[in-house]
């Protein structure tokens, strides 16, 4: 077994990791949702250690506990111990062992199998990947950016609208770019955090192979998940620069390539985990919003490194192990956004977008709070 087995007993189960830095609310999404100590970081680490010591056996319930961690890294941010940076890696390594033993939840197995067979977690046909984008340019060597759309942007209707907005903005700003279309593979971020390392390597090799073949120098991703995995895990497989789409949009604005009209509205912004806590990008999306004349940015109490995850990480934007309750993280979060008085909840991640869109409906807030991605907002004002 991997090295986590030698370290995992160091968790004291003190619970600092349940909170944001002011301790006002529970900020571990799975603990907020289920409330048993087993679903807190400490509970999970203690159970893993118990499993290593053979004090508990593998079970469906244990699997649910392990896979309902959305790898949001709130615990990494707030654990006071020296080992804190390793916590999520321990959970991922343990999942790897679990998967190698073949003992996974059926929803996790389906998620991974679908990616393996069809290149996307829903089991949609590969050929459908680029149906939304028939009129979007395909990448050709020499284009500045390869626009990596990702699974949510390719298959989910809401994600597609987001992808289209971004593509249109690139067009408008005269940026040369192209997509891979049906040749795009799943980025593998979720596969990695779910612990399926064999499949992850295969996906990383395929994607980087394609990038090399097309001599891609810069990739811009719609999803912070893809951004994260390409920036931090792909370098082993190939060298290219990676940008999150908000970084590209900010540059476009700063170079005055878009003319922005006024939009008088209050907006609150939700930091996605894989952009914020994983890659320390907090200000770029805010700067874009502040550049739109008329927009008033109001912060939720839990912002930046204290952001409360939408509950979609670790494949949960599909598996939704944390769904089905008023205490589901996405529902808690849209209520928090609503309480700021903002009319728009701005996001920078297609998974957050779909999670919040559903949550707003479940909360009956669809006439009061509109979930929009930053490129959609920008598109509206750059007519």
């Amino acid at each position: 077994m991997s090295s986590y087995t030698k370290q995992i007993h160091r968790c004291f189960r003190c619970g600092y990791c349940k909170f944001p830095s002011d301790y006002a609310e529970y900020n571990c999404p799975s603990f907020s949702r289920f409330r048993f100590e087993t679903y807190s970081t400490g509970g999970r680490l203690w159970l893993l250690w118990a499993w290593v010591k053979k004090e508990v056996e593998w079970s469906e319930n244990l699997a649910k506990i392990m896979f309902s961690c959305v790898t949001c890294k709130n615990c990494v941010e707030h654990c006071p111990m020296k080992f804190k940076d390793d916590i999520v890696d321990w959970i991922v390594s343990a999942r790897k062992d679990i998967i190698e033993k073949g003992a996974v939840l059926s929803s996790v197995r389906d998620f991974l199998n679908n990616i393996h067979k069809y290149g996307n977690p829903w089991g949609e046909a590969r050929g459908k990947r680029a149906v939304w984008a028939e009129d979007v340019k395909r990448y050709k060597p020499g284009d500045e950016f390869l626009f990596y759309v990702g699974c949510v942007g390719s298959y989910d209707e809401r994600g597609q609208r987001m992808a289209r907005s971004f593509a249109e903005l690139l067009e408008k700003a005269d940026v040369s770019y192209g997509i891979l279309g049906s040749e795009e593979e799943c980025d593998g971020n979720e596969v990695y955090v779910l612990g399926e390392m064999g499949l992850f390597q295969e996906l990383a090799r395929k994607n980087t192979g394609k990038f090399k073949e097309l001599n891609v120098k810069k990739v811009v991703t719609l999803s912070p998940h893809a951004y994260n995995v390409m920036k931090n895990k792909y370098p082993r497989y190939g060298t290219f620069e990676v940008f999150h789409y908000t970084e590209v949009l900010l540059k476009i604005i700063q170079e005055a390539k878009l003319k922005l009209s006024e939009l008088n509205v209050e907006v609150t912004y939700h930091d996605p985990c894989f952009l914020g806590r994983y890659n320390n990008i907090y200000e770029v999306p805010r700067k874009i919003l502040k550049n739109i004349p008329g927009i008033k940015l109001v912060e939720m109490d839990r912002n930046r490194e204290n952001s409360f995850c939408c509950g979609g990480g670790s494949g949960n934007f599909v598996m939704d192990l944390l769904g089905g309750s008023e205490e589901s993280p996405s529902r808690i979060r849209v209520k928090e956004a609503y309480e700021t008085g903002a009319e728009i909840l701005a996001v920078a991640c297609p998974s957050c977008l779909t999670m919040f869109e559903d949550a707003v409906k479940n909360e009956g807030l669809e006439k009061e709070l509109f979930v929009k991605d930053i490129s959609e907002l920008l598109k509206e004002v750059s007519k």
Binding site: A24, N61, K82
Partner: protein, 458 residues
Amino acid sequence: MDRVCERLARIVGENYVSNMKEELYIYSQDPGMMEPREPDYVVMPKTTVEVQKIVKLANEEKIPVIPVGGSLSLSGLVIPHKGGIVLDLKRMDKIIEVNERCRYVVIEAGVTTGRLKAYLEKHYPRLRFSIPDAPPSATVVGNIVIHGQGHLSQQYGFNSDMVTGLEVVLPTGEICKIGSCSVSPYWFSLAPLPDIAGLFLGWFGTTGIITKLGLRLYPRKKLRDIEVFIVEDPHLVPDVVYRVTHTEMAEDIFVNAQPYPPIFKDIIMMGICITGDSEEELEFKRRMIWNVLRTYIDSKEGGFMMTTPDVKRALLEMPITGTTRFADVMKGGGFEYCGPIIPVEKYPEAYKKLLELSSEYGVTYGNTCRVIGRGHCMMFAFGYPFNRADPDNMERTKKALHESNVASLDIGGVPWKPEVPAQKMIMARMDKNTLELMKRIKRFLDPNGIMNPGNWEG
């Protein structure tokens, strides 16, 4: 699902009850050293009425009920020594009322210290409570139940002295209010009624379940600072405490000693916190404190330590995270402390014993003390980090803890939040009539003996 589980599910909803191995495993232990014992059920009520129904059910079924807050008292007080229903109260997390002018708050049992701190800072920045240095996931009620101490204890006594009212579910299921709230809509104080709150404080949940708590709040000054006075001779500590408490200028006073990093070995650090609404007020207090310690400075027996901004920031945190980090000293994920309440004059004796035990059992130590009241007593922690993955180290630490409990009693102290074996030691030395009174109270309140059994049993 078995029958009891089904009945519990009908009370709280099936998402909030479990008899699955994983939950039973986690709730069988706390982060301290006591032997685990699994409960039969874990249940998470949301309201007082749900608690009441669970208690009635437990009486019918004759099953133990163990109230649980943050499980951070470390001495196994939430371990279901005889199985039964663990009642995790953290879903009862409403802050019901703050009466700003009367300076009190009414909260439910599951409100964490972290949450109350954040709430007051945001909504009532002129008010604060006596927060302990426990991790912020500890509950305020759990802290009161064990007679905890916090950052205002030097000024105002044990945190349990700050209770203004209780709502309690008795072991037989009646809901009972205690204090002014029993006759009035206000929760301002226990007086002038007969004081029956004591039936539930220090009893570790063996006499009932506190569902609501009224707690005193205090002025929160705009500024807070710390001066660290250091001495090498432990015999000076009681006098330094006496002099500083006489000034009535200090907020919190704590005493720390630890053998690492090596430059701190053999040095006793006394943190003296001050607060004020202006720099002028702080400076006045600082000067008063310096003045009473001047003779020690002149004789070079003691002196104020220069503190870097980082050190200052760490010492001024509330709660102080460094206290929790102690658990990682051995890279072993644990620490436990025997923290007797002792007369301040006994500090040198207790300190000597701590060093002896540390060397005898080959375990490292950390000593944190908090002055309670104006030197009326202090909590002295015989703290030992341990390594969960090293059974030999665990065994030696357990012995050191046991000996620390014995030593505490020998010097005239009383172990605080004692583990079951230490409770027995206390009861063995207790006045016989007092012990008998405790037993009678317990039998009267809890005829079926269902409440947190194993604790305070003679």
